[in-house]
């Protein structure tokens, strides 16, 4: 009789690394969101050459459908937490695995738009925003490779399976 627990086979470092990166993203997005709503808190960012945080964060592209991009970023990272909990990484449910990848990919899509807005439309770079973009990218890369290394298997039943296989061999 087989009483197996299907496991994802994801590397043990996947969850803690991703949660740390998510925490960094939350920290950066929180700072940008507070600076957006509270004008008394300036962004610590020297305006020099192409670097000008304020020009980026007060530009028309700093809002999407009237919602500040900083707030969307914060919501994105908060929504990322459940995908990277240890229990989620242990699960072999393909809906979780591919849902997590799709969620990360949506973030990358948004980062592409924001990089386009900075590089092509605004022609200024916001260092704090770039920090968020890099965090999103690194988090996506880690998620992709950890998912690639995850080969689902019946963790608690290797022995049982072997026995079954041996029975087959007997026959």
């Amino acid at each position: 009789m087989v009483s197996s627990t299907r496991q994802s086979g994801a590397p043990v470092w996947a969850s803690p690394v991703c949660l740390v990166l998510t925490a960094i993203g939350i920290g950066l997005a929180t700072y940008l969101t507070i600076a957006h709503y509270d004008t008394h808190i300036p962004l610590v960012c020297a305006a020099k050459g192409a670097i000008d945080c304020e020009a980026v964060t007060t530009s028309p592209q700093s809002k999407v459908f009237g919602i500040p991009v900083a707030l969307l970023g914060l919501a994105y990272f908060v929504g990322m937490i459940p995908w990277h909990l240890p229990v989620a990484w242990r699960s072999a449910d393909p809906r979780i695995k591919f849902g997590r990848l799709l969620y990360g990919l949506s973030g990358i899509g948004f980062v592409c738009y924001l990089v386009y807005a900075e590089a092509v439309i605004i022609k200024k770079v916001c260092l704090w925003c770039t920090g968020v973009h890099i965090t999103t990218l690194v988090l996506f890369v880690v998620t992709v490779f950890a998912s690639a290394l995850a080969i689902p298997h019946d963790a608690a039943t290797d022995e049982d399976d072997d026995d079954d296989d041996l029975e087959d061999a007997d026959n």
Binding site: K124, A148, D162, D165
Partner: protein, 308 residues
């Protein structure tokens, strides 16, 4: 026996077969897992590489378009420009303006004021991004308005580089700007962009006002046109746009606080005249602005300036 040997110590044939099968299956599984991992890693690497290529491509496109940027590019104002507008609005209030720099006079008018939805009297600005006179006028207008409220989303650009009279004048654009004030409403319409393509349209009431007082002739719209609550209007520039020739928007921002510089003197004096006109709209509010030295001087001079 538990180790697969019979009573005489001989290895059971059945057990050996089982062991061999176990090892064979384990080896097959391990090989399969290695193959799966290798395939997944290749796919992951390809996906990540594609994402990085897209991002690098976007940055490259940004660098490339920067090199070929024309005069009509409209970019969000740098923080230096936005801060300079707000700073000069306050710092220049106590100075004595050199009103001789105001070469484009205001005109008095008596027409019902346009009203915003919140009931505040409205200032209507109508201009074009290619227009050098608009380019010169936006700076003092922004400074004057910053004395009554706050701007956000200002842009910077240049007027047409092919205009013979005053090419490539560094300026602000109001196309994406929003303005908040407790005293007045500001409605800015950049009718066309730097390539003379339609940008922002006027309402029926605005268009009627513009047609009546804008000084437009067929094919020659009278840019810029500013209606100060039906009490005053500005037709054309308030000072010579060539004062700003050769400067960048950041350079104008850096110099307009200095009243001894040509751009600073012209922008501050024009801003004081605009402020006096706005004070006429607001009934002298706020008092710290409307009773300031620069504004009192401009208010006193309004009648004579209008008679120029």
């Amino acid at each position: 026996m538990a180790d697969g040997r019979d009573d005489k110590g001989r290895t059971s044939t059945k057990y050996a077969a089982k062991k061999a099968a176990t090892e064979r299956i384990a080896a097959q599984r391990a090989a399969q897992q290695r193959a799966d991992r290798k395939r997944n890693l290749l796919m992951a690497g390809g996906g990540v590489l594609a994402v990085i290529v897209v991002i690098v491509g976007i940055v490259f496109a940004g660098l490339h378009t920067k090199k070929s940027a024309g005069a009509s590019d409209v970019l969000p104002a740098s923080s230096a420009v936005s801060q300079a507008v707000a700073t000069v609005a306050t710092s220049s209030l106590s100075a004595q303006p050199d009103l001789s720099k105001v070469t484009g006079p205001p005109s008095a008018m008596t027409t019902p004021a346009l009203k915003a939805s919140n009931g505040l009297p409205q200032i209507l600005y109508v201009g074009a991004e290619w227009c050098p006179n608009c380019g010169a006028t936006r700076w003092p207008l922004a400074v004057a308005l910053a004395r009554f409220g706050t701007f956000s989303g200002l842009s910077t650009t240049y007027s047409s580089s092919t205009d013979n009279s005053a090419p490539h004048i560094p300026t602000l654009s109001f196309r994406d700007a929003s303005y908040k004030s407790s005293y007045i409403d500001f409605d800015a319409k950049e009718q066309v962009d730097g390539n003379n393509k339609p940008l922002q349209s006027l309402t029926t009431a605005e268009n009627a006002l513009f047609e009546q007082y804008g000084g437009a002739t067929p094919g020659q719209p009278g840019y810029p046109f500013i209606d100060f609550g039906g009490k005053w209007r500005q037709n054309g520039t308030s000072y010579a746009p060539t004062v700003l020739s050769g400067l960048t928007p950041d350079a104008v921002a850096a110099t307009m606080g200095n009243a001894t510089s040509k751009p600073g003197a012209a922008i501050q004096a024009s801003a004081d005249v605009f402020t006096a006109e706005i004070c006429d709209m607001t009934g002298g509010k706020p008092t710290n602005v409307c009773t300031a030295t620069a504004v009192v001087t401009a208010t006193t001079a309004l009648a004579s300036l209008a008679a120029k």
